[in-house]
């Protein structure tokens, strides 16, 4: 097939390309704000700069898992059972796993500098680790095979079970042990004191990463559509082949 070089190919559209440019620009701006313009923290010094990637990463991860849960619920309850919702759930969970991994690593680097240790057994860290493992399991179930509908129903139920599991784990770990600093922006007066520009950088980071998430989830969902469509194409051919088995 001759590809028309001027016409766009793949999963992009003019809208997503605009979004992509916006994402790249805002991420470059974020690194300038985070690494150059914003001041050092009075207590933590320059190590606070890790915050500008760590906090937005975990923000994206939470958002992604919430979106997975919502999409799964919509898939399971909607009358038409559109597989698009299932693909959104899968795309979102995959992105969530990536960002939870990023935030665990950057978080432990940050922890090494501020607490002197890579890991502490506090409620938030521990339940984040559980989140990571749980959604790795979710992605494994998505790959179990079978028809698209089987995959969608199984993983949809599993995503809703995870919504139940995570608060239970968090609650029990919290009662078990809690040493972690409270979320520093929500509760003033803890060890990070953010001035205006630092606060701006942080919120800018949240916005930039949210845009990044939107871009990623749209494209990932589209590649999943292509994968499903490819499998269905294979099905048409397989049905023809199956019919030709007759009388052989």
């Amino acid at each position: 097939m001759q590809l028309d070089k001027t016409s766009p190919s793949g999963t992009g559209t003019p809208a997503t390309r605009t979004l992509g440019v916006l994402v790249i620009a805002s991420l470059i701006a974020l690194s300038l704000f985070g690494l150059v313009f914003s001041a050092e923290d009075v207590v933590q010094g320059s190590t606070v700069r890790i915050m500008y990637v760590h906090v937005p990463s975990i923000w994206v991860a939470y958002m992604a898992f919430a979106f997975t849960a919502i999409s799964s619920a919509v898939y399971l309850t909607a009358k038409n059972r559109s597989l698009g919702w299932d693909r959104f759930a899968g795309a979102s969970a995959e992105i969530g796993v990536l960002f939870v991994a990023i935030s665990l690593v950057t978080g432990s680097l940050w922890g090494r500098l501020t607490w002197g240790t890579y890991w502490v057994w506090d409620a938030r860290l521990t339940s984040t680790a559980f989140l990571f493992i749980t959604y790795i399991g979710y992605l494994a179930v998505r790959r179990l095979g079978g028809t698209h509908r089987q995959r969608a129903r199984r993983s949809g139920v599993l995503a809703l079970l995870a919504v139940l599991e995570i608060p239970l784990v968090h609650f029990s770990v919290r009662v078990w042990r809690s040493l972690h600093q409270e979320a520093s922006v929500a509760d003033k007066g803890t060890d990070v004191e953010l001035d205006g520009l630092m606060l701006f950088s942080l919120f800018f980071g949240l916005v930039a990463f949210t845009l990044l998430f939107v871009w990623l989830v749209i494209h990932r969902q589209r590649t999943l559509w292509l994968e499903d469509a490819y499998a269905d194409k294979g099905l048409d051919a397989a049905i023809v082949a199956r019919r030709e088995e007759a009388g052989v």
């Binding site: 097939m1 590809l3 016409s7 190919s9 793949g10 999963t11 992009g12 559209t13 991420l27 690194s31 985070g34 690494l35 010094g45 320059s46 190590t47 700069r49 890790i50 990637v53 760590h54 990463s57 698009g84 992105i95 990536l98 991994a101 990023i102 690593v105 950057t106 680097l109 940050w110 090494r112 500098l113 990044l212 871009w215 990623l216 494209h219 990932r220 589209r222 590649t223 559509w225 292509l226 994968e227 469509a229 490819y230 194409k233």
Partner: protein, 44 residues
């Protein structure tokens, strides 16, 4: 900058993993879309 290796390391790690993942998605989308005609895509 104090602890530059940790800080730069965090940023580089984040950037690299996001870029690798984004490139993977785009490449996979391009190669898979060879198998379907553009009129079928729900997004075009």
């Amino acid at each position: 900058m104090e602890h530059a290796s940790f800080i730069i390391g965090s940023w580089v790690l984040t950037a690299v993993s996001v870029v690798v993942y984004a490139v993977f998605i785009v490449k996979r989308g391009r190669s898979l879309s060879q198998n379907a005609s553009r009129e079928e895509f729900p997004w075009t």
